[in-house]
Symmetry: C2
Subunit: 244 residues, 2 copies
DNA sequence: GAGTGGTCTAGACCACTGT
DNA sequence: CAGTGGTCTAGACCACTCT
């Protein structure tokens, strides 16, 4: 047996969640029901479900059952974002401003990095997050419309695309690239810092099943932000962003 | 039952590994032996051992048994370092140079961050890693001698303290803090860059059981290095550092 | 009270691999 | 070939909590 039974069960349930067939709040069949469906022992189901719970896909409550959770923001690694929550956690007033919005074909910049075909259409958004009156983070985002067609109708003047996606689209793979860069002219202008000032850049690609959903670049002024991640090899890691 | 049996077994074995009682290469008793020792079913042992294997503490081989692994470098999050390996992976010649070495009491800088008592003694090392002839990373490290007394005799002129610690001391908790900073005068000098140039700073604290073992600050020139971490909520994450 | 998940048992068969 | 881990079974009891 190449792929084990509990792996297949886990994968089945994961795909039902990723596809939206089992949306957030959905009550998953009980272990006994699933054991009958799969014609296996309850322990086998339990193993799969326990892993799904550890991964943050579902919540399990005695007597009540197992429920699909909202897509999780934290990468289990760098608990970044939603930025609004992050700012609120610092006790600051959150401000959001849409700077640019374009809809276009992917034949420009991000096609390679988004793994898109020529015909793919995407949305390109630039926006700014503020903590109090101070610029906190510049967000430049591409959204793959093939993966999230609803994104075209979304209104990003009031809600940031990050928060919107978090509500709408579950993910199963993410990739972070973290670097230090000198602020370019436009970035410096938006963030209210000097050109060339050190900034922390976090670029994240997010997948749902096989499709890249979105590519985002978050630029933080280097003197105001750091990423903290605390963890152990065994248990689940705790992590929290922090302001210097 | 507050703490479950397989949790206690896992914790028992983890502590034997962290304390050095079961050193790297040690063959752990078989599941059947452990089941007899703990007077429990083999499945209960298996659950604990499977988690230890996933956490990277041990390796399990059929017929051969389970063996304690070398302390693992990767944080399961940001697979940073040993830097020598990192440079080698880029196809560059690795160079190492010790810049400073001090032994002193902790009443200076890092006592607070190392969670040390007044009487604690520590080692303070500064060194430089090179890729080819180009400075790659500046390492500034404090080592808690209460936790690793052997560190006093270690020779850091040829081997970096990071590589030495990785060989000698297992860890069970780590905390990364990542930020972007402008290079100070000394840093700029060592890295051969301009003062104020953006750098990626990774600060890592590492614990063994309850003791902070070491605090290290790694400073990379921002235009030459980025951190990449790729992962999924379920499986183990793959991650690799990358040169731009 | 009843149904859920959490844990544990005492078996079993298999795949693999070192001797 | 023998012993290991990997998986699975068909039960069991318990804690919890929703109704």
């Amino acid at each position: 047996m190449r792929v084990t039974l509990h792996q297949r069960i886990l994968s089945d349930v994961e795909h039902r969640i990723l596809s939206g067939a089992w949306p957030p709040g959905y009550r998953i069949p009980s272990e006994n029901e699933l054991a009958q469906q799969y014609q296996c022992a309850r322990m086998t189901i339990n193993k799969a479900m326990t892993q799904l719970a550890k991964a943050g896909y579902i919540e399990r409550r005695r007597r009540a059952g197992s429920f699909v959770l909202q897509p999780h923001a934290q990468s289990a690694v760098l608990e970044i974002h939603d930025i609004k929550t992050e700012v609120a956690a610092l006790g600051q007033a959150y401000g959001y401003e849409l700077i640019e919005w374009h809809r276009r074909r992917g034949d420009v910049i991000g096609r390679g990095r988004l793994e898109l075909s020529d015909s793919a259409e995407l949305i390109d958004v630039t926006c700014l997050h503020r903590a109090g009156s101070v610029p906190f983070c510049l967000e430049e985002r591409l959204i793959n419309l093939d993966a999230v067609s609803e994104a075209e109708q979304a209104d990003f003047t009031r809600e940031s695309p990050g928060a919107w996606l978090l509500r709408k689209v579950p993910w199963n793979v993410a990739e972070h690239t973290i670097s230090a860069v000198g602020a370019g002219a436009a970035t410096a202008h938006h963030l209210g810092i000097h050109e060339g000032a050190p900034c922390l850049a976090v670029e994240r690609r997010t997948w749902n099943a096989d499709h890249v959903v979105t590519l985002v670049r978050l630029t933080y002024p280097g003197d105001r932000h750091e990423l903290v991640a605390r963890f152990s090899p065994t248990g689940r890691q705790t992590s929290s962003p922090r302001l210097t």
